[in-house]
Symmetry: C2
Subunit: 220 residues, 2 copies
Amino acid sequence: MKVAIFLYEGMTTLDAIGPYEVLAQLPGAEIHFVARRRGPVRVDTGVLELVAAHALEDVTAADVLIVPGGPGDEAVRTDARQLDWIRALHATTTWTTSVCTGSLILGAAGLLRGLPATTYWARLETLREYGAEPTLERVVEAGRIVTAAGVSSGIDMALRLVQRMAGDDVAQAIQLGIEYDPQPPFDAGSPAKAPAHVVAMVRQVIETLGESRRTARRTA
Amino acid sequence: MKVAIFLYEGMTTLDAIGPYEVLAQLPGAEIHFVARRRGPVRVDTGVLELVAAHALEDVTAADVLIVPGGPGDEAVRTDARQLDWIRALHATTTWTTSVCTGSLILGAAGLLRGLPATTYWARLETLREYGAEPTLERVVEAGRIVTAAGVSSGIDMALRLVQRMAGDDVAQAIQLGIEYDPQPPFDAGSPAKAPAHVVAMVRQVIETLGESRRTARRTA
């Protein structure tokens, strides 16, 4: 069972590491971290690099593909080589999956046309640009394409994948193995649950960050 | 606000990346990944390296210290240089924290004597070797030392830290920022909640892995 986890500059680390930590415990799973080129990949905050053990051309098939999100998704969505690789790998997978704005990358690769899908809550409408139907659920299955909501949702998505692939006992064993018994101090993890002023605050931050990135590109 | 995240060979990735992803969103926080030496650090599964941007000697003070767990904890617990660094950094922190068996490292550094603490559920009794009182809670605060349970618990721990440092609104904003609205397919994340046969299965795997590591050391 070969799992390919796609890495790229500006990705959000937990998007990839959540599902990785779940699937790495699946008996028989071989995890391959794959990027445009082998070597260090700088994540969105700029303070950490993850080392991709494999370049795109080294990995031509996989049972599971995981595409994380992050502000770097924009550059990937216009890069023919990386989109070609995602399409080619998808032709070989049992499950093609994404976390957060990773679904926008799947969309840009043309894989979401006519399908229900999810992404980061603040980016849901962008899915329409790729012909997908934005769906406010934490994990959305559309045949063999599974999209998950923002950042931390990849843990839930991967546990569901394990359940499908290996059954309830193994999924529960892995949940216990990573002691995933969530107890956040608040119940504020979705825009429907967080206080309105907190949602407004986060929207403001996201818009400001988006604007500063657009400015940086214009002046680059 | 300086956050030092300690990395070491054989650590469990999510132990570090969970709290990292939360604290990286705290306004004013500067995250420093620190290891014995600068450069790639191979994690427990062997398939991924995280790049430490800083060596121990580069980071002599921090507001927050995070010590992750993982099977590599054993080697750290007998390494005077790394334990000295943890003790020295602790003398400068507002919060000294651990995830999973990271608390055993804090214990080996002599920081847990007489304190309540937690760790990975299957390793709780080991805390007694360091004079700590094993405590079956997801996050245990003992003054400025905060220990968290297994692997995924660092997300909850870090959100609680943010609440203490920056208040409820910021903690909720970050929870929404990482869309942490957990929906695992089962409620099996602790030995009290998982079915008995699943707990037995995981205990068996842990014991087998522990035995094979002991054998590897004897024959190394």
